[in-house]
Amino acid sequence: MAKDVKPTRKNLMAIEDRIDLSERGHDTLEKKRDGLIMEFMDILDQAKDVRSDLDSDYERAQRTLDMARAMEGDVAIRGAAEALKEHPEITLQSKNIMGVVVPQIESTRVKKGLDQRGYGVLGSSARIDEAADAYEELLETIILVAEVETAMKKMLDEIETTKRRVNALEFTLLPTLYENKEFIEQKLEEQEREEIFRMKKIKDKKEREEEEAEDEPDVTEGAPIPADD
C-alpha cells in the first residue's frame, strides 16, 4: 500500500489531515457505538419484559378461549366473533434514537366496551367477555412487542454497522494511513539526508577546487598583457 504513495510533503500533509479526521471520526463513532449499546441494553430489558408479558397473555387468552369454547360451545364463540366487523386500526409513526429511526405503533379500537364487540349482551355470558378481554389485551401486547422488537432489531443493525465502521477505521484505515505517513516521513528524511550529503559533497568539492586553485602558481603574474588586436 505504502509503495503506491508518492513520498511528497504535500501527500504527507494530506495524509496527516486524513489521520486527524479519521481519529476524530473514530472517537465519535466509538462514542456512538457505546451510546447505542447503552440504549440497546435498555430496549433489551424492555423487550424481555414485553416478551414475557406476551407469553403470559397468550397463555391466558388461549386458556380463556378454550374454557369458553368448552362451556359455551364452538358455535356460540364463532357466532360471537362473526358479529364483530370493526377491526382495530394501527398507525405507524417514527421516532429517533441516536440517529436510528425506529417505529412507534399507535393502535386504536383494540380495547372495546361491552357494547362495541358486536354480540348482544343479554344472551351472552361472562366467559365470552373474558375471552374477548384476554384477546384484546393480547393484541395490545403483540403491538407493543412489535414496536419494541423492531426498535431492538434496528438498533442492533445500527450497532453492527457502527462497529464495522469503528473497526475499519481502527484496524484498516488508520494503520494504513500511519504506515503511509511513516513511509513518506522516512522517504523524506532519506531525501533530506541525501540532500545534505549531496550538499556536503558539493561543498567539499567546491572547497577542494578552491584549495587547488589557491595552490596553483599564478602564471599570468608579471607577463605582458597582450594587445587586443
Partner: protein, 357 residues
C-alpha cells in the same frame, strides 16, 4: 311466518310427564361422566355412538369429525328431544314449553343474522342452527334463504320477534353493529317467557305460582349477571337498556343505580331470596374479579331449583322444565368434556366445570 298453533284443546301434562320421565332416566349419570372425563375426544365420539346419540353421530359422521362432530351431534339430539316435547304437548302445556324453547328460535335467528352479516355461506350457517325451538324446518329454511338482514326481519313478521326487531333494525342501520338486533331478540324471548302463565294464586303449594317463581328467577339471574358484567366493564353504557322486565330482584331504575356501585349490587343479591343459594359464589366474586364462577353458581342454582320443583310437583310443567334443563346440562357437560380434553385441560379442571346434580 306464523307460530304453530297447538293451544286449542285441553292440556295433557300426564302424558307428557310420563314420556319425559322415561327420557330423563336415559340421561347420562355421574358414573358415565366420570368415564367420559378420562376419555380422548375420539373415544368420547365412539362412546356416544353406542349411546342415545348413535343416530346423530352416524348421520353427521361424514360431514364433521373430532369434537365438531360431537358438538353438532349434541345439538341435533337436543333438537330432536325438544321437538318431541312440542309434538307431545297440547293446550296450555304446549304454550308453556314453546315459550321456554323460543330461546332456540332467538339463537337461530341470531346465528342467521350473524352469518348474513359476516357473509358466511348458507351451508355453514345451517350447520350452526339448533332446530329445537318453535320455528319449523320450513320457516328456518326460508330464513336461511334471506340475502340481507332486512329480509330476515321481514320474514319474522307475525312472530313475537316482529315488532322489537323492526324497532332495533333502525338502530342497526344507524350503527352497523348487530348489538341492537341481538339484544332485541334476547329481550323478546325473556319478556315473553311469562306469557300465558295464567293467574298466580300466591299459595305456597300452587304449581303455577312456583313455575312463575322459577321463570322470574331465570330473569333475575339473567339481570344479575348482566348487571355484574356491566359493572365490571366500566364503560359508559346505560344499564337500563340491558334490563329485562319480569324479574323480582330489581327494577330498571334500581339496576341503573346498582351497576354504578358494585358492592351495593352484591349486597342486594345477597339479601334477596336467592342469597342463601348464592352465598359462596358471592363471597368468591368479592375476592376474585372473575364472574365465571358466579355464573356457574347461577346455573347450578337454577337447575337445582327446577329439580326441586319437579320433585315436589311431579305431574306439572315443572317436570318438563326440569327435564329441559337437565338435557341442556347433559349437552353442556359432554361438550365441556370433549372440548376440554381437546384443549388439554386436566380431569380435575374439567370436572370442576361440570354441572352434575
Amino acid at each position: 311466518m306464523s307460530p304453530q298453533t297447538r293451544t286449542v284443546g285441553s292440556s295433557n301434562p300426564e302424558y307428557v310427564n310420563a314420556r319425559v320421565r322415561a327420557r330423563r332416566a336415559a340421561l347420562f349419570d355421574e358414573e358415565e361422566y366420570r368415564k367420559l372425563v378420562r376419555m380422548s375426544p375420539s373415544e368420547i365420539a365412539r362412546f356416544m355412538e353406542e349411546s342415545e346419540y348413535e343416530t346423530e353421530i352416524n348421520a353427521l359422521g361424514s360431514r364433521h369429525s373430532g369434537v365438531d362432530l360431537i358438538e353438532y351431534a349434541l345439538h341435533a339430539n337436543l333438537a330432536k328431544h325438544f321437538d318431541d316435547l312440542l309434538r307431545w304437548a297440547e293446550g296450555s302445556l304446549y304454550e308453556f314449553i314453546a315459550n321456554y324453547l323460543r330461546k332456540f328460535d332467538a339463537w337461530n335467528v341470531k346465528t342467521i343474522v350473524r352469518g348474513v352479516y359476516a357473509g358466511a355461506d348458507e351451508e355453514t350457517i345451517e350447520s350452526d342452527l339448533i332446530r329445537a325451538g318453535e320455528f319449523s324446518d320450513r320457516e328456518l329454511d326460508r330464513l336461511l334463504d334471506a340475502r340481507s338482514i332486512e329480509e330476515i326481519v321481514e320474514q319474522l313478521s307475525g312472530t313475537i320477534f316482529e315488532e322489537p326487531l323492526e324497532d332495533a333494525f333502525a338502530d342497526y342501520e344507524e350503527t352497523d353493529t348487530l348489538v341492537p338486533l341481538e339484544n332485541a331478540l334476547d329481550r323478546t324471548y325473556y319478556e315473553h317467557i311469562l306469557d300465558n302463565v295464567g293467574s298466580v294464586s300466591g299459595e305456597p303449594d300452587d304449581p303455577i305460582t312456583r313455575y312463575n317463581e322459577f321463570l322470574q328467577a331465570e330473569i333475575d339471574f339473567r339481570n344479575a349477571r348482566n348487571a355484574l358484567r356491566l359493572a365490571r366493564t366500566g364503560a359508559d353504557i346505560d344499564p337500563g337498556e340491558y334490563f329485562i322486565e319480569g324479574g323480582a330482584l330489581f327494577n330498571r331504575r334500581e339496576m341503573s343505580g346498582l351497576v354504578a356501585n358494585r358492592e351495593e349490587l352484591l349486597t342486594r343479591i345477597e339479601e334477596s331470596t336467592y342469597g342463601d343459594r348464592l352465598d359462596e359464589a358471592l363471597e368468591e366474586l368479592r375476592d376474585a374479579e372473575s364472574l365465571i364462577a358466579f355464573e356457574h353458581a347461577l346455573d347450578i342454582a337454577l337447575s337445582a331449583y327446577a329439580d326441586r320443583l319437579a320433585n315436589r310437583y311431579p305431574m306439572t310443567i315443572a317436570s318438563v322444565l326440569s327435564y329441559i334443563l337437565a338435557k341442556e346440562r347433559e349437552v353442556d357437560n359432554i361438550r365441556a368434556i370433549a372440548r376440554g380434553r381437546e384443549a388439554g385441560l386436566s380431569e380435575e379442571e374439567i370436572t370442576e366445570e361440570l354441572v352434575i346434580l
